[in-house]
Amino acid sequence: MSWHLSSLAMLAKALEAKTVSSTELAGYFLSRIQVGTRWNAFLDVNPDLTMEQAASADRIRAAGKAGQLTGIPLAHKDVFVTRGWKSTAASRMLLGYQSPFDAAVVERLGMPSEENPGGAGMVCLGKANMDEFAMGSSNENSAFGPVLNPWNPECVAGGSSGGSAAAVAAGLAPIATGTDTGGSIRQPAALCGLTGIKPSYGRVSRYGMIAYASSLDQAGPIGKTAEDCALLLSAMSHHDPRDSTSLADSGEDYGRYLNAAWDASAAAAKPLTGLRVGLPIEFFSEGLADGVAKSVREGANQLQALGATLVEVSLPKTKLSIPVYYVLAPAEASSNLSRFDGVRYGHRTNEYRDLSEMYKKSRTEGFGAEVKRRILIGSYVLSHGYYDAYYLQAQRIRRIIAADFQTAFAQCDLILGPVTPDVAWKFGEKSNDPLQMYLADIYTLSTNLAGLPAMSVPCGFSQDLPIGMQLIGNYFSEARLLQVAHQYQQATDWHLRQPSEVL
């Protein structure tokens, strides 16, 4: 049985029917991980720990206490701290770091216990590779080697959740957690032919998520289908009093509309009747590759065929979202990364004459080039004399961007566009020019700035590489986004394609 071709829903059924055990599933995926090292999707794998968790899951099932996700394996992006596995955020700065606590996301999805009665009982396969400290769009910024795209090993997998996406695309894990600060779930999902969702800011606890940019970071699933994402997101999202920015009303069944029609009055053949889909002019202008534009428009047409109406909308500050993001995110990051000083944990340099040298050498040796670049940008925009012109100005434009979305949402129920300007590029193509890399984030950044939920849904191919279309919803409309994506996936099969490189 090719379990790696099964969706979460299928795995859950099989476990329930006792067709397979958690132990067998865990062993199955661990074997694939063992032979699938070429993708470099994982940073830490600990088979003993995984099998221990699987055995627990089987015991829970035998006792009749299994939930829907009990015993299903998953990979966690290495940005989530874990007690059992190492946590590095793909940085030399945290090489060998052992966290004394689990991230909230890891707890929520992990084994239930006395201190953690709400655990969903999933089995952790290991920690997924990523761009260092979540800074990057290609997973070329990992201190432990880049992640290869299972669709074409000469191409990037996307970032920063490249490892999570590659793991799922290569059949090494049925689903994975990722984080999205400027597109880091949606973009690797798009480049790897997967479905991913970044929920509204505040839906998922950031406790235990190694911080990059606090007001932008959000965790979410990367999987094969919208249905799978709904299952995982429902389990991940809850109010956590340890995170002051965690919203009080977070527990929801995000899959509750999956099989419903958009409108109660809709005919069966056109379940999306009544849905107004907005296409921003700025998302379909220069810079977008023809192949991508074509597939995304076809995606929009498919929604139309399902009953939706297409409307033209405008998001005038789309281009400006790039400087705004690349002022605010580095600013927060420069501060969040100050704790990495070699004093209490993490890398400490070997030779130093005094404290100042210890700080500088430890941080210089521990951080990669992109991280250092962003720290420099961030410190600069916060520094005396520049704060008003850069940081505050960016925050004001941020408000305009959020307001512009509301204007658009007055005319439509969700916004549709590309995720990336082009399909996965070759290694090294953009890594010499950081600005080029930043410019490619143009379609995803504004949703993080506004805190809106957004998804990437596979919608076609170009040059044999996957293309994702982006669906952006208004605040707290994740269930609706997933509904539209699911209906789309009932009518199409892009999400079912498998990379030929993967056995």
């Binding site: 340890r242 501060s335 704790r339 209490r344 944990y345």
Partner: protein, 488 residues
């Protein structure tokens, strides 16, 4: 050249909370190193801050007590700098919009009263501690030990306008502020444990000049004496420097109590750019009127208020009123006694508390808060004195007995039970007293003769004899009256 001294004080008060401002670790002083530093305090990857309600309440309480404005919305900001006792590489503080704005405190220096304007007070977290013992690092380098138990302790930083003009004023302000925060229960005031630390901003200018001179900040003064000495030294230093043709450099200095001088801190402050920005992990602190009112309604009356009130209502002297409002426990005890005894006994209660009670506490090295006897135990003493059952002298003995019993943890007696068991009831019956007096007059005829011969002192001696014969139980006023009658 006449110089004017300009001083502003910034005081860091540790707030009385059980747990830290942003984490659930304990704030108790004296714990074993790093046993009260949880992942949030250690700034481990992935941790986040959550605000302690009690810390905010203390800030509100303080703001109300000094007549300040409580900000309906205030913002936490990050103050970014690197130091080993600062785990996150930034301190969570408040910058542009603090929780308390304005306010004032009245101080007394000698005979003059002065109102000190406060600029603001804001919430922030304390840093850890460096211990400079002889640690050796992994490469043989001389090292400091970092203890982060203190990291995250809630602080209220209280800032004055630069309106003090002498070290004496600064000390008077610091003492008044200290009493107030202890009175309010907002800070325990333990300066040796670092609960109350002052930074003094000192500058000088020629008398009459409007512009301020360059100021220096003297940090971490944790005793009133050091505060005074440091300011005095610094003023002298700056004046001498300028008179010698030099200029004062704006810098941070530390006070060395052994050498009794201030010295520059090694370049910690050179062009420090703290890059303040609102902390994205914390939402705006919202304080509504309902909350403020609920705190206002449970605030204790302030010492200044009570002092005036008790002088007005009960005719207490300023001296007594001051003694009774020296700390919350003393004032509370007085109030509780009044509740039990009624206002007519206010003066008697005040006299007793500032007399026998105070001296007993002093001898025992205790404050009213430590007293093993409470108002319920003590009130009968005063009522029995008032109704004539016992004399003041007997009351002293009874109090001593009760005190000893209570200290030993064996308090079983009450005022009445002691009066009963020891037969200490005051003799006020004129018949009984008359008989006693007759007896004494008979056995002390020498005194009687002396008195009749004009020696007033003999009268007192006779009274003394009567008291002795009655084992102190005779009602002294009545004895006086009756004896005079019999002798005339």
């Amino acid at each position: 050249m006449q110089w004017e001294v300009v001083i502003g004080l910034e005081t860091h008060t540790q707030l009385r909370t059980a747990s830290k401002i942003f984490s659930g670790a304990s704030t108790q002083f004296g714990a074993d190193v790093n046993t009260q530093a949880c992942p949030v305090d250690l700034a481990l990857p992935g941790v986040l801050p959550v605000l302690n309600r009690q810390a905010v309440e203390h800030a509100i309480r303080f703001g109300l007590a000094i007549g300040a404005a409580i900000a309906p919305v205030s913002i936490f900001a990050r103050k970014n700098y690197f130091y080993p006792d600062l785990p996150k590489g930034y301190q969570i503080s408040q910058y542009e919009i603090p929780v308390v704005l304005g306010g004032h405190l009245e101080i007394v220096v000698g005979d003059t009263t002065k109102v000190i304007e406060l600029t603001r007070a804001h919430l922030e977290e304390d840093a850890g501690k460096s211990v400079h013992e002889d640690f050796i690092g992994p490469h043989g380098e001389p090292s400091s030990g970092i203890d982060l138990n203190r990291a995250g302790t809630p602080l209220l930083e209280i800032v004055t306008e630069p309106v003090m003009r002498s070290a004496a004023e600064a000390v008077a302000y610091a003492k008044t502020l200290h009493s107030l925060v202890v009175w309010l229960g907002v800070c325990d005031g333990n300066m040796q444990e670092g609960s109350f630390r002052c930074d003094a901003n000192v500058s000088v200018r020629p008398l009459g000049q409007e512009a301020f001179g360059t100021r220096c900040e003297i940090k971490n003064l944790n005793s009133f004496r050091f505060l005074e000495e440091a300011i005095q030294y610094e003023v002298r230093r700056q004046i001498e420097l300028i008179e010698d043709g030099g200029t004062v450099v704006q810098e941070t200095r530390l006070y060395d109590p052994d050498k009794q001088e201030t010295r520059s801190m090694r370049s910690k402050e050179d062009a420090q750019d703290y890059r303040y920005f609102p902390d994205p992990d914390l939402l705006p602190l919202v304080i509504d009127e309902v909350w403020i009112e609920s705190i206002r309604s449970t605030m204790p009356a302030l010492p200044a208020q009570l002092k005036q009130q008790w002088q007005d209502d009960f005719g207490l002297s300023l001296y007594d009123a001051e003694l009774l409002t020296q700390d919350r426990a003393t004032a509370t005890l007085f109030e509780e006694l009044l509740t039990i005894l009624g206002k007519p006994l206010a003066k008697a209660a005040a006299n007793w508390m500032t007399g026998d009670f105070a001296s007993t506490l002093n001898r025992a090295g205790m404050s009213a808060a430590d007293s093993p006897l409470n108002a319920a135990h003590l009130a009968p003493l005063l009522s029995r004195m008032a109704d004539g059952t016992i004399s003041n002298k007997i009351a002293k003995d009874i109090f001593a007995d009760l005190w000893k019993e209570a200290l030993d943890g064996q308090l079983k007696s009450t005022v009445d039970s002691i009066i009963e068991s020891k037969g200490l009831k005051q003799i006020s019956d004129s018949g009984e007293l008359g008989a006693l007096i007759d007896q004494v007059m008979q056995t002390n005829s020498a005194f009687v003769d002396e008195f009749r011969a004009g020696k007033e002192k003999a009268f007192n001696a006779l009274v003394g004899q009567v008291m002795k014969a009655s084992q102190g139980k005779a009602n002294p006023q009545q004895v006086n009256e009756l004896l005079r009658k019999k002798l005339s």
